[in-house]
């Protein structure tokens, strides 16, 4: 393992600079060619990286877009507090679109049952925000290494009126020349860090000295096991019959909605320790922690077709 660590560290800086060059280029091209972009900011590590890249693309000017958070109402408190502090520090504008408002409008219904989650409902709330603010570009922190379906998605991905992704009709993406045109009713999802891996994101966070929500680092909390996952006990996520809560040291590898984001057992409390754990890991980020991808062989593809990020 130690030789693997050395190997990855050699030239890591050059490698991250190349990834950064590409991402900055994507930001500038999309903002120059489209009228109403927005950046999806969840307080998660990938969107925190996006904010630093946007600073490099546009500072000392203001960002030519607001930040948009789709709040399921079931997010981790630590992450929401972090989100607000980060927005204040940057001096940029944040729009919060709430799944609860969609429920109140009657456009979605809360799921029921022991596996109820608002994860899928987010897609509707997101599309409602796109309509309301007439966004034509949504920047997101999705990466191709996350999932089989994501591995196929372009950096610039065209969505129709219903937010659907049509994988067999994707635009060719040639050289570094981006085509950002849309027809009326279409919008674009733009993924500047498509080519980054989970490890790249963590090494960039270390290199750039970026602050993260505390739940990314090992901490003791009340958890319970369900299926092959460990979940934190929160208001929205209570153990069911036969699921016994216990306390242990965990960290989160992703920080989505609390109802579908699992924790991993870990004692890594610093960036270097987290990076060492990721290098040694033999399970992917989503495989380890995302219940939403475990339902079927093509779970992510199916959700993306419906407008999911």
């Amino acid at each position: 393992m130690s030789c693997k660590l050395n190997a990855v560290k050699v030239g890591a800086n050059l490698h991250l600079r190349r990834l950064e060059d590409e991402a900055i280029h994507v930001f500038r091209e999309a903002c120059a060619e489209r009228e109403r972009p927005a950046l999806l900011f969840s307080g998660g590590k990938d969107s925190i990286v996006l904010l630093r890249l946007a600073e490099k693309a546009f500072r000392p000017g203001r960002f030519p877009f607001p930040l948009l958070h789709v709040d399921t109402g079931q997010n981790f408190d630590e992450v929401l507090a972090f989100r607000d502090a980060k927005v204040a520090e940057l001096g940029e504008r944040l729009i919060v679109a709430k799944v609860e408002d969609s429920i109140a409008r009657g456009t979605v219904q809360d799921e029921t049952g022991p596996r109820a989650s608002r994860n899928r409902l987010q897609s509707v709330t997101l599309l409602e925000a796109v309509d309301e603010h007439r966004f034509d570009v949504l920047f997101g922190g999705a990466r191709r290494d996350e999932d089989r379906a994501r591995a196929k998605e372009r950096i610039v991905s065209v969505r129709d009126e219903l937010g659907q992704w049509e994988p067999s009709k994707q635009r060719p993406e040639l050289w570094q020349v981006l085509n950002l045109h849309v027809r009326s009713g279409q919008h674009l999802r733009v993924f500047p860090i498509s080519n980054w891996t989970e490890l790249d994101v963590w090494q960039y966070i270390a290199d750039e000295d970026l602050a993260l929500p505390s739940i990314y680092f090992a901490h003791e909390r009340a958890v319970f096991e369900r299926g092959r996952m460990i979940y934190g006990v929160t208001d929205a996520m209570q153990p069911g019959p036969g699921e016994v809560p216990f306390r242990t040291s965990v960290r989160f590898r992703t920080v989505g909605d609390a109802t579908c984001t699992g924790a991993v057992r870990s004692t890594a409390s610093t960036l270097d320790e987290v990076i060492a754990e990721i290098i040694a890991a033999d399970v992917t980020e989503r495989g380890a922690t995302r219940a939403d991808d475990q339902f079927s062989e093509a779970a992510m593809e199916d959700r993306k077709r419906e407008g999911y990020f």
Binding site: V8, H15, E20, I24, A151, K152, W175, N179, D302
Partner: protein, 431 residues
């Protein structure tokens, strides 16, 4: 494992072309498996799906064919990107489809690639599809092309058969109008011969295995020899502490650029001097003395010259040889839409960060991908390779694609629906 004396090479982007029948997905799956680039849950997933579908062994193609339709039909439809590293290098594998109807996805992979792997089935030999793959990698000038002759076990690891196939492939690319160099590797992907480990069953082959070839290949830099910054965005902050700041932001191509360099700003051809270069503008002083090709930077100039989005900042007091303002261009193209290319068509051309009106004034020829012969024609259809004459509403600062892949390439876009209709590569008298 890491060898400190071995220089660190830049990440290699490698496109793979071939059909499932050639064993392409098996080859990639084998590379990822043997390089330990597959995670436990990914392996468990493909083992589980293979068992559920009643396959006798783990179907490595399931590693890359992630879309529902691909799994149903057992083919690759769209490019998939995979990332892995060995102690010597980092890799991006762009796995691209073989079928002719998905040519646009193969062109996508090849346009971004530093190297390509084209597979041949040793038993079947070169097919129409293989010839097409070789033609596209040649057209896109992928710098290094590895022809992997797979399923050598089916031809008893016969050197004569291997050499005959290599000669056939060489004859094919020599008939094409673009210069390309092929390197050949005999492989049995299913058993792993010459994939990561050198095979003991083909002692007559003394070259490197596939992975070693990829680890050591070097990619030649642009032949332009001067830095060119296509201006993507102008940073003009409305802030007191940066009241006079005006930064030209973009991604440098062609060569480097340094503070103090004389530059020409095209298309106005105004002269100025670089006063500051930054990757991240944070204070009153510039961040770096110079930048190299590929860097996304912000450049400040000594003079307040007219340089908005779509302008080009060119290193030097004169344009480097080959780089010219061009308003009438000859383009080699891969035509990627069902609407045929015909004279009179009005389109947009996007060259770097510059978009101009374009009128297709003539179709010169279509290329027969199996023979390399060109035929005069007045239209190109979906997935055709051919040559067009195009007149532009305003000039672009471009050079031959053979000289510089960035400054010699452009997209044609249909203004009616915004779709990319062609990948185009500039042809000049020089190349």
């Amino acid at each position: 494992m890491s060898d400190p004396t071995h220089p660190t090479l830049d990440t290699l982007i490698c496109a793979t072309a071939g059909s499932v029948d050639d064993g392409k997905s098996t080859l990639i799956g084998r590379i990822l498996l043997d390089a330990r680039a597959l995670m436990r849950d990914q392996l468990a997933h493909i083992e589980e799906v293979s068992a559920r579908r009643g396959f006798s062994r783990t179907e490595l193609a399931l590693v890359t064919d992630g879309l529902r339709a691909e799994r149903e039909q057992g083919i690759t439809i769209d490019a998939a990107w995979r990332y892995f590293a060995t102690p010597r290098r980092r890799f991006v594998l762009a796995d691209t489809p073989g079928h002719v109807q998905y040519t646009r996805n193969m062109v996508t992979g090849a346009s971004q690639a530093d190297a390509a792997i084209v597979l041949i089935d040793a038993e079947r030999g070169l097919t129409e599809q293989t010839r097409r793959h070789l033609a596209i990698t040649a057209l896109l000038r992928v710098p290094v092309v590895f022809v992997v002759v797979n399923k050598m076990d089916r031809v008893a690891f016969d050197e004569v058969r291997f050499e005959a196939l290599a000669a056939d492939a060489r004859r094919h690319v020599e008939a094409l109008p673009w210069e390309t160099r092929l390197r050949f590797i005999p492989v049995c992907a299913l058993d792993g011969d010459n994939v990561v480990e050198r095979s003991t069953r083909m002692p007559w082959y003394d070259g490197p295995a596939v992975l070693e070839s990829l680890e050591t290949v070097r990619v030649a830099p642009s032949r332009l020899g001067a830095g060119v910054l296509p201006v993507a965005w102008v940073i003009r902050p409305q802030r007191e502490d940066f009241a006079t700041f005006r930064g030209l932001a973009g991604r440098l191509v062609g060569g480097g650029l340094a503070v103090g360099d004389r530059v020409l700003v095209a298309p106005g051809m105004l002269e100025s001097t670089v006063t500051r270069i930054d990757r991240h503008v944070t204070g009153a002083l510039g961040g770096q003395a110079s930048a190299e090709s590929g860097e996304s930077i912000v450049v400040s100039l000594a003079d307040d010259v007219d340089a908005g989005r779509g302008a080009y900042v060119v290193q030097g007091a004169a344009l480097p040889e080959g780089l010219e303002l061009r308003q009438s261009v000859t383009l080699d193209v891969a035509w990627l839409t069902t609407r045929p290319a015909r004279a009179g068509m009005r389109l947009w051309l996007k060259h770097q960060s510059r978009r101009v009106q374009a009128k297709l004034v003539g179709v010169t020829h279509r290329l027969d991908v199996s023979t390399g012969a060109t035929t005069a024609t007045d239209e190109l259809k979906l997935n055709d390779l051919g040559r067009l004459q195009v007149v532009l509403g305003e000039p672009i600062l471009a050079t031959a694609y053979a000289q510089d892949r960035a400054l010699g390439s452009a997209l044609l876009v249909d203004p009616a629906d915004g779709e990319t209709v062609a990948a185009t590569m500039l042809v000049t008298d020089a190349g």
